[in-house]
């Protein structure tokens, strides 16, 4: 047929030269991020309430001098576990945010949507308020771990409940999960309210600070508890990247591309529950990392999850270390809860991104 020979798009630019391939930029970005994280680690070890410098200690060691016990304690038992915990928590929050946004196909989704935060919050409040009512023997046994254990159990319980409610005939409805999450959040909030009402002054103070989040009190035992859970969840994330890319086209289209959608959903939800749960337990409620980090990255390297997820882990870790350095130095020797720092820094950045990139984000 003759019409097939008609030249279409004759007036448009014919050659495809000169478009920016964001994948290459994303690969280079990973190296820059590793450098940034290394820098933030040094900063995190260097600045604190006491004037201990890791460089001075290193110099003393290399010159064969004795390192004082207080220097050793500050560096090895206070700043170093705190730095490691900051990396783990920052990476989990940012990767969990990116996973949730990919799964819910919404750049404003947040790990809280799977019910982890509400459940963990309720668990923590129960631990703080009801802990005093436990038999002395049991309370003594759990001791310091009472609140973290209660928070972790609460987070998992609420995620599993939401997952059950939203899954029918082997298919998980993301929309149902979102709505059920709102209902469960309201319920957890109400029960928390009752407990807060019953709490005494000291418990109220504990509750308030838990809610604002902090890396203070980081110990090697906390690090060792959180590491396997967070590392397992982060190790799974790269295997979800292609599936999440397909999901950007919608569930049906992703299925036609060969994505096993149900597996992507369940694995993503469980790893977010594990990573966020562990992060919330060791550091309390730290906001904005999960939303701001993936957002910033998408603007520069694009939404391809194969590059977004590793970059988010690195940038989340760097940002949280930076926020932690601010939180413990700005009113030293006291500490500002880190959740306040991330909110004060994160919220305006977030608004600025929305204003600047409105044209692209609207759709």
């Amino acid at each position: 047929m003759a019409v097939a020979d008609i030249q279409i798009d004759g007036g448009k630019p014919a050659a495809s030269v000169g478009y920016i391939d964001r994948n290459q930029r994303a690969q280079r970005m990973i190296w820059a991020q590793i450098g940034l994280l290394a820098l933030m680690c040094v900063v995190s070890l260097t600045y604190g309430a006491t004037g201990v410098s890791p460089f001075r200690v290193l110099a003393q060691i290399s010159l064969g001098h004795e390192v004082s016990i207080s220097d050793r304690v500050v560096l090895l038992d206070i700043r170093l576990p705190r730095m490691v915990l900051g990396i783990l928590v920052g990476a989990s929050l940012a990767v969990s945010g990116a996973l949730m946004q990919g799964l819910f196909r919404n750049p404003l989704a947040d790990p809280g949507l799977v019910g982890v935060s509400a459940g963990a919050g309720l668990g923590a409040i129960s631990g703080i308020v009801l802990g005093g009512m436990l038999p002395v023997a049991l309370a003594g046994l759990l001791g310091y771990y009472l609140v973290p254990v209660a928070a972790f159990l609460g987070g998992w319980a609420s995620t599993l409940l939401l997952y059950r409610v939203a899954t029918r005939k082997g298919r998980t409805s993301v929309a149902t999960m979102l709505l059920a999450g709102i209902a469960l959040g309201a319920l957890a909030g109400a029960v928390s309210g009752i407990l807060v009402y019953k709490a005494n002054d000291q418990q109220l103070r504990d509750l308030t600070f838990w809610g604002m989040g902090s890396l203070a009190g980081a110990t090697w035992s906390k690090v060792l508890t959180a590491t396997p859970i967070i590392c397992a969840a982060l190790a799974v994330a790269p295997f979800l990247a292609r599936g999440l890319n397909g999901l950007a086209l919608g569930e049906a289209a992703a299925g036609h591309l060969g994505v096993n959608i149900q597996r992507v959903k369940s694995v993503a939800i469980l790893s977010v529950a594990a990573a966020t749960g562990a992060a919330v337990v060791v550091s309390g409620g730290i906001g904005f990392i999960g939303i701001v980090v993936p957002h910033l990255l998408r603007l520069s390297i694009g939404p391809d999850h194969r590059y977004l997820l590793p970059n988010a882990a690195l940038l989340g870790a760097s940002l949280l270390l930076g926020a932690d350095v601010i939180s413990r130095n700005i009113i030293a020797p006291a500490e500002l809860p880190i959740g306040i720092v991330t909110a004060v820094l994160g919220a305006p950045v977030f608004l600025w991104i929305l204003l600047r990139a409105r044209g692209v984000l609207d759709m």
Partner: protein, 262 residues
């Protein structure tokens, strides 16, 4: 071939498709036509497994429920009516998603070739969400073409499922997209397309299924099925065929509309 028997679809309490039999053959473009609400798109969605259905569907001799998703993705590409995108991907990034199933020819230049094929050369770095509806539809077609670039895989035909592929397109691009579909079929693949435009259907389809009220009203070779009485019955509107352009090409039009010379 695609062989579907006794397909029923129920949405809520209402049965949308009643015991529909459907067949499509490699080397052919099979069009599904019918009035609004007749079940065309529901039939296509049942064939692609996007809606729960009764009955059996075989593809190249195997029951589709026995095939894993990656195998289905290797054998068929599905173009929906419209594809909203969740994140600001560029056009080339969208088209590259078609290479995901891993069975396409692993050629780095393939996405660019597919874009050129649908007339979108030079659009690689543009944001998908900033394209017009028709451009988005062609970008999605390029993605689907990437997925099943070679119409045959290990001697078996691959399949293109197109849901109203030309609905948002201007006349030149309608011809371009239908040419792509016909080339795919002539190279050994099979195409199943839901169509609204009866004239394009008459020009391009080898086989036509006419749906009405969730049943098959007529099915067969295009020239046997597209006749005035069947079409008038299908659309509840008298439709005439005008053979003036050429003896083997008919222009379809509602009765009473006179075809004035241009």
């Amino acid at each position: 071939m695609i062989d579907a028997l006794n397909i029923t679809v129920q949405l809520g309490r209402k049965e949308i498709l009643h015991n529909v039999d459907f067949a499509a053959y490699p080397g052919q473009l099979t069009a599904i036509v019918g009035p609004n609400g007749s079940g065309k798109t529901t039939l296509l969605r049942a064939l692609t497994g996007d809606v729960d259905h009764g009955g059996t569907i075989q593809m190249n001799g195997a029951d589709v429920t026995d095939l894993p998703v990656w195998k289905l993705a290797a054998l068929r590409g599905v173009l929906p009516q419209a594809t909203p995108l969740a994140f600001p991907f560029t056009v080339i990034e969208v088209v590259r998603l078609g290479l995901m199933s891993g069975t396409s020819a692993q050629d780095d230049r393939l996405p660019e070739r597919a874009l050129a094929r649908v007339g979108l050369a030079g659009y690689e770095g543009r944001y998908y969400q900033e394209l017009s509806g028709g451009e988005q539809q062609r970008a999605q077609l390029a993605r689907v073409l990437c997925q099943v670039w070679e119409p045959m895989l290990d001697g078996a035909p691959r399949w293109l499922y197109l849901d109203e592929p030309v609905a948002a397109l201007d006349i030149a691009h309608q011809i371009q997209v239908m040419d792509i579909a016909r080339d795919f079929a002539q190279a050994g693949g099979g195409v199943i397309a839901v169509m609204h435009d009866l004239n394009l259907t008459g020009l391009y389809a080898d086989r036509v299924i006419i749906m009405k009220n969730g049943r098959v009203l007529a099915a067969g070779d295009t020239r046997d099925v597209l006749n005035s009485s069947t079409l008038s019955q299908a659309y509840d509107c008298r439709i005439d065929l005008d053979f003036r352009p050429a003896p083997d090409i008919a222009i379809l039009h509602p009765a009473g509309v006179s075809l004035a010379p241009l």
